[in-house]
């Protein structure tokens, strides 16, 4: 998947644990963990909004597009 989730980096920068963030934005810690590891099919706008609002960042700080390199 060429979309990289940078949530762990943002959490480390804010010195916040996944558990704290999950509790603050009201989603299951397990779901946040899945999001952190990129093992999800999508992110709802309201989840993204809650995370950005809590971490004081932009959606672009959380998600990054890395094109898959074609091996010759």
């Amino acid at each position: 998947m060429p979309i990289i989730v940078r949530l762990d980096v943002m959490l480390a920068m804010r010195k916040m644990t996944s558990r704290d963030l999950a509790a603050r934005i009201g989603i299951a810690e397990q779901n946040l963990s899945l999001l952190k590891s990129g093992k999800v099919r999508g992110v709802r706008f309201n989840t993204l909004e809650a995370i950005c609002s809590e971490l004081g960042c932009q959606p672009g700080d959380l998600l990054e597009f890395q094109p898959e390199t074609e091996e010759a």
Binding site: N31, L34, L35, R41, G42, V43, T47
Partner: protein
Amino acid sequence: MTIDPNTLTQPARRIQIVMTCGMALFLAITAGLAFATITKPSSVGPILADFGGFSTGPLMAWQTVALIGITAIHLTIWLLLLGTARHVFRHLADGEPEAASHAARNLANWLWAMLAWGLISQILVSLVATWGFPEGQRAISFGFGTPQVSIALSALIAGFMARAFALGAELWRDHSEVV
């Protein structure tokens, strides 16, 4: 948006109980038929023939056996049908739409079987019940009316439900992978 599956699972659990009661009723009827066959075999035949719409006097042994056999197949199909319907609602109550889809497909097949056997058994019952009648009064009955149309419609709806559940299962999987 949070989707609450309880709006589906709770009514499904209630319908599952209704289906279980239906199965219990049909089991009781089957047991009653078995008991009557053992205790009063000569009176079972005319009662079954009367139930099929043919008033007869005493029947020969083979006629009674044939009518009991036809009724037993009817009851078996009803039990399998109710059992499959119970499975559909149990899987829905357990939040397993994919399994419910398979069960609904089986239910549709059993409904078609019920329709086919209903038509065949009507012919057989009329033939067996009127076998001993004088010449000119014997009959072969075949009818396609409201009950048969209802069963055919139910089978079509069950087949459509199977597809809808399969699609629902896919949507549910997709929904659960979005955070």
